[in-house]
């Protein structure tokens, strides 16, 4: 592969490119969907994607699903021509921040490679989980399991002498449980995901998760709805994760360059307070066990964790090489794309809010009348985060009271993020998927339980 890619790059340079890179990705994947114990679909696939970027004043890009030398050379010509013609109409040319060339091969870690596990075994595990969930109670009317695993082989080569191979696993299970009693319908969602192999299905104990979700769903049937109003509110790790992710996305230099866009709220806010001082937010694509893990980003830059917000102050944006040049800073390996057909963009991987040393009990001990919210059913993110939570509890005189049905809440990033007055000492994550074009790719948010001095919740 190395010889082929180097040849393609040489060709681009020969045409007159200031910079060129080529990415090849082969994704082996399996998806399984099981609804009410019935196999809805199982789809095995191999996706081969490639793209070539040529910088000649502006970017010319050519992507394809072939790695034959002829096709790749044809793609180089197209990309170069587009850049050259486009540049004639653009007064200001694009520059990218310099980085040191790297040669490296990152192999699959010690995982159980999902490509070597027969699909029947994967189906049996999910069917067993599905059965366990439905066996909990006759009021469970629907269970919906979406499983997917993939292994991505990535090859990267650029005109500065970098050549990188990296192989990345990912496994995910999403569980929806619906219970009904008379007219009352309640739903819960469980999500398990990590950059891991089939062993995740053992360690994450999906059987136990399924049974717990099923029990929670049934419990919600008889729970009361919370009374709408303003309360001190404590949210669990998943909801913290949602807030972390939404905030993290806004630290992308690309969104911050588009102040009018939904995620452009942090435009021009470097060095300013953007949320409460108890919040320190890190984008970390390097910690094992999280949903997104890579050594090198889509531009071949070594990935490093970055504290984007420290004690409430926006310290830096996350960058591609292009935005790093524009903002006169270092790119730290945060360019991402769903596959090689898509172009690298600075996007968060795992947005993590730092924990403190307060226990959960300490978080609630001084709340006379409040609400504890758990789990995310659905949400929209951006300047305004709207979230439907899975369930809750009343907090009365510093202790958890009766269970409540899921509430909705709205967090206005410009106001409510300043109302967070404490974070706890625990940690968990919410794996989510970002849609770009017609592809999902994993992101996650995480952190401890956090407390809002006051937050408006709806029923």
């Amino acid at each position: 592969m190395k010889d082929l890619l180097e040849k393609i790059i040489e060709n681009a340079v020969g045409l007159g490119a200031e910079y060129a890179d080529v990415r090849i990705q082969r994704i082996y994947s399996n998806t399984i969907r099981i609804v009410n114990g019935r196999i809805e679909r199982t789809i095995p696939s191999v996706e081969l994607t490639a793209s070539i970027r040529v910088l000649k004043g502006v970017w010319g890009i050519s992507s394809l699903t072939s790695i034959s030398e002829d096709d790749l050379l044809g793609a180089v010509n197209k990309a170069f021509k587009m850049a050259k013609t486009g540049a004639e109409r653009i007064p200001e040319t694009i520059k990218i921040k310099e980085v040191k060339p790297v040669e490296d091969k990152v192999k699959l870690g010690e995982i159980q490679d999902p490509r070597e596990v027969p699909i029947e075994e994967k189906m049996e595990i999910i069917l067993e989980c599905d059965n366990a969930a439905r066996s909990v109670d006759t009021r469970i009317i629907r269970t919906d399991y979406s499983y997917s695993d993939n292994v991505t082989e990535k090859y990267f080569c650029n005109s500065e002498g970098s050549y990188i191979e990296e192989i990345i696993p990912f496994t995910e299970l999403r569980i929806v449980v619906v219970a009904r009693e008379g007219e009352v319908i309640q739903q819960t969602i469980g999500r398990i995901a990590a950059s891991a192999g089939q062993e995740l299905m053992a360690y994450a104990d999906p059987l136990e998760v399924s049974e717990r979700l099923a029990r929670d769903t049934v419990k919600l049937l008889s729970a009361k709805s919370p009374s709408p109003g303003k309360y001190p509110v404590v949210v669990d790790n998943g909801i913290t994760g949602l807030i972390a992710l939404s905030t993290g996305l806004m630290t992308s230099a690309q969104f911050a360059s588009m102040p009018e866009s939904e995620l452009g709220a942090f435009a021009g806010k470097l060095g300013q307070k953007v949320c409460s001082e108890v919040i320190t937010l890190t984008d970390d694509p390097t910690s094992s066990g999280l949903p997104v893990v890579f050594h090198y980003d889509e531009e071949g830059v070594p990935a490093r964790p970055v504290n984007v917000i420290e004690n409430g102050v926006l310290r830096t944006y996350i960058h591609s090489r292009e935005t790093a040049y524009r903002f006169e800073t270092e790119p730290l390996g945060h360019s991402r794309a769903p596959n090689a057909l898509f172009q690298p963009k600075p996007i968060v991987s795992n947005a993590i809010i730092k924990s403190s040393d307060l226990s959960f009990e300490e978080l609630i001990e001084n709340i006379r009348e409040g609400v504890y919210l758990r789990g995310v059913v659905g949400a929209t993110i951006g300047r305004i985060i709207q979230c439907k939570t899975m369930m809750g509890y009343r907090i009365v005189d510093g202790e958890l009271g009766e269970p409540l049905r899921g509430a909705t809440f709205v967090v206005d990033a410009s106001k409510d993020l300043f109302n967070i007055d404490a974070v706890a000492n625990d940690f968990d994550i919410l794996p989510l998927r970002l849609i770009e074009g017609d592809r999902f790719y994993p992101v996650s948010g995480g952190g401890p339980h956090i407390r809002f001095k006051e937050l408006k919740i709806g029923g």
Binding site: Q112, E116, V117, P118, E121, E124, I125, E128, Q198, E199, M201, A202, P206, L207
Partner: protein, 125 residues
Amino acid sequence: MSEEIARVVKDLSSLYGVNSIVILNSEGKGVYSWHRTDADRRRFRLSERTIKDMLDRAVEFVRLAGGDQVRNIIFRGRENMTVIEHLENIIVFAFADMRANLALLLIRVRRVAENLVKMFGGTSI
């Protein structure tokens, strides 16, 4: 009876990578054992007493740590893994190589334990 047990255990012994299975009652008395090959049988030098001791120690260990009951114990080495599952009056021991699907191994060990409990009810075996 051993035939009935064998039928239940088949679910587990048919899993790719599982090499040895031992079924004990809660007193630690062996009621059934299975090995994939004669070589596996010869290699296997673990006594029923030792399996039971291991479980007892784990129970004590977790109790001292402030935990509740032990459902299973998992050991993972470089090339093999071991699972001991305890359910009511049944102990299931399984020894497998790393190529086995651990998630499925856990599920089937538990299923075998449940089916054996169902088969014998609360009676001691």
